[in-house]
Amino acid sequence: MNRFLGNRLEKQLFCELDDNELVSYAINGSKECWNELVKRYYRMMFATAYRITGGRDTDDVVQEVLIQLFKSLGSFRKEAAFSTFLYRLTVNIACREVKKMTNLSSIVAVGNEVIERMLEGEPSENSSFESLDKDEMEKMIRKALFKISSDMRMYLTLFYVEELTLKEISEIVGSPITTVASRIKKGKVLLLKEMERMA
């Protein structure tokens, strides 16, 4: 099969194979099918990783995703969509990397922001972003997204930016839909609090 694919199939034919077929052929040693799979999903991997990491070391994260993906292709059971399998991998690795970065920066610098937050505590009952117009507020929302924890950012990103359904996210993170919904709500609360701190 591998030899057949390597010698006979023209490049454009790889594009016509569905994800499951590409995975099967890649598992059987077809580098062309592996490459096609990577090309097909690279943008999705990059965008998801970028939004979770806030753009820090995204290339490294994506490379790690590719390595882990290659190693785990054999464990893909095709019960879920390949995109779900890949989202799960990307999200897990991106969140893990963010935690590593956060721990490192906390140890090295203790983080001015962390100190600032400790001093400030909860946002004041009277402070608010009353003076902001719509555009400023939208920018602030997107900025605040990178100030909340990577876990919470991941839920908000998958739901609002990637526009996945609650069911899809629940399959990716392996949690019930109700848990996902409550995490998204918690993420929004944290985002609002963060915006008030920033205002």
Partner: protein, 98 residues
């Protein structure tokens, strides 16, 4: 006017489902610039995040194939060096003498 503001959790709930608002909460929000702005902000979270700029321009597709090649070659050779492939892992080298 009741000076106790709505909690952030309640603000988010009301922004997602305005029908659940109680009359006293509605009265408070109408008269409280802090809560009314928070409610506006909560309602803007979804549209603002949907407008997140695309990152496609940061993706270098010309380098993707090389990266995919490298991963295929390097991971395959690492797995090979480990030796003792399980049957499941033999797919990496279907023509190997295992």
């Amino acid at each position: 006017m009741n000076i106790k503001h709505l909690t952030f959790e309640r603000i988010v709930e009301v922004s997602e489902n305005p029908e659940i608002i109680r009359s006293e909460e509605k009265l408070h929000i109408e008269n409280c610039p802090v809560c009314s702005k928070r409610l506006v902000a909560a309602g803007m979270i979804a549209p603002a995040l949907k407008k997140t700029p695309e990152v496609d321009h940061l993706v270098d597709m010309s380098a993707v194939e090389m990266m995919a090649d490298n991963v295929f070659d390097i991971v395959s050779s690492q797995e090979n060096r480990k030796g003792g492939f399980s049957k499941e892992r033999c797919w990496l080298y279907p023509e190997s003498p295992h």
